[in-house]
């Protein structure tokens, strides 16, 4: 239920970055969200429209890339993707794997902006 505050942080953060691109319009905001980040995409999308209203992000598209959970399997000596969030085991050898390597990410990957034409001097 904290998606609105997550989205508000995204709006603040992107707005801050826009200072370097005066007059730019945001077309797309891309997030990387781990499967264990406790964030629901539908809810993010729902809140996004509300949170961006009246900001430079208004009308932009939110793209959420979900990252699967990866753990390090000691016996196999490699990072593996688990098959289900209900079992933290190596899908190859079946051993429990406690060492999480990916899945908690909650970050803004990039933004796509449309820059204003530079004013042409006389």
């Amino acid at each position: 239920m904290h998606e609105l505050s997550i989205v508000s942080s995204v709006v603040d953060s992107v707005t801050e970055s826009l200072a370097a691109y005066p007059g730019a319009r945001v077309k797309e905001v891309r997030l990387r969200v781990g499967a264990l980040a406790a964030v629901v995409e539908d809810s993010l999308q729902f809140c996004y429209g509300i949170a961006t209203e009246g900001t430079p992000l208004a009308g932009s598209v939110l793209v959420v890339r979900t990252l699967p959970v990866r753990v390090h399997c000691v016996p196999c000596g490699q990072d593996v993707e688990i098959e289900s969030l209900q079992s933290f085991r190596c899908p190859v050898c079946g051993e429990p794997a406690a060492d999480l390597r990916q899945g908690r990410e909650l970050e803004i990957e990039s933004i796509e902006i449309e820059e204003a034409e530079e004013a042409v001097g006389p």
């Binding site: 209900q86 990039s110 820059e115």
Partner: protein, 221 residues
């Protein structure tokens, strides 16, 4: 018009993470062991904490607690009966505690005069998992009345925990609690995690829990 892609690679909760990192440094410098207690509403976090505060004080240890709730200071008043300094954090609708709220409520406390600080989070097994509070140990609690599959339903929280506590063991039998299954499920989500089976009412399992706290504090210093 030119279209451009700007790489940001920025953590969305960066502000909270930075504040939490600052708190963690302060806690370590002061030598206070900080624990963040998370569970569903009704698991018995407050009863467990009341007992923990009382028992630690009886061992001559210096304890304090911050307790988060949407509304009321009922829990703070219950916990204060232990004689420990306690402060209530009312979130007024926010479903989790954030590092900033913790920092604000520590004002005026001399951390160097504490051995343990417990932070009782808002009862919620989802949102608090994303917010680092600067704690050393995150403890996920589960009561025998909740169903043994709770860890499977809330893997984001149970996977982020450093220790797990099963509460209300005194009524495990009448509730038909399947202990083996609960332990198996906890381990399926967080392999190798330390699990304490406790009853705040009868004191079952408290000795083991307190010994763990004492050992962890020794390790943290």
């Amino acid at each position: 018009m030119t279209t451009r892609i700007v790489e940001l690679r920025r953590g969305i909760l960066k502000k909270n993470d930075e504040l939490a990192a600052g708190l963690r440094q302060r806690f370590m410098a002061a030598g206070v062991l900080v624990l963040n207690l998370v569970s569903s509403p009704g698991t018995g976090k407050t009863a467990f904490l009341e007992r923990t505060l009382r028992d630690l004080k009886a061992r001559g240890l210096r304890v304090a607690a911050l307790v988060g709730d949407l509304e009321t200071d009922n829990d703070a008043r219950r916990l204060a009966a232990s004689g420990a300094p306690v402060r209530q954090i009312n979130t007024h609708g926010i479903c989790h505690l954030e590092a900033e709220m913790v920092g604000k409520h520590l004002e005026g406390w001399e951390l160097g005069e504490l051995d343990y600080l417990f932070i009782e989070n808002v009862g919620n097994l989802v949102c608090p998992s994303s917010y680092d509070l600067g704690e050393k140990i995150r403890v996920a609690l589960l009561s025998v009345t909740e169903g043994e599959d709770k860890p499977l339903k809330y893997p984001t929280m149970f996977n982020s925990a450093d220790a797990a506590v099963i509460t209300k063991m005194d009524i495990a039998e009448p509730c038909g609690f399947d202990r083996e299954l609960a332990l198996k499920n906890i381990n399926e989500i967080r392999p190798g995690i330390r699990v304490f089976e406790t009853s705040a009412k009868t004191g079952t399992g408290m000795e083991e829990w307190l010994n763990f706290l004492v050992k962890e504090r020794g390790r943290a210093r």
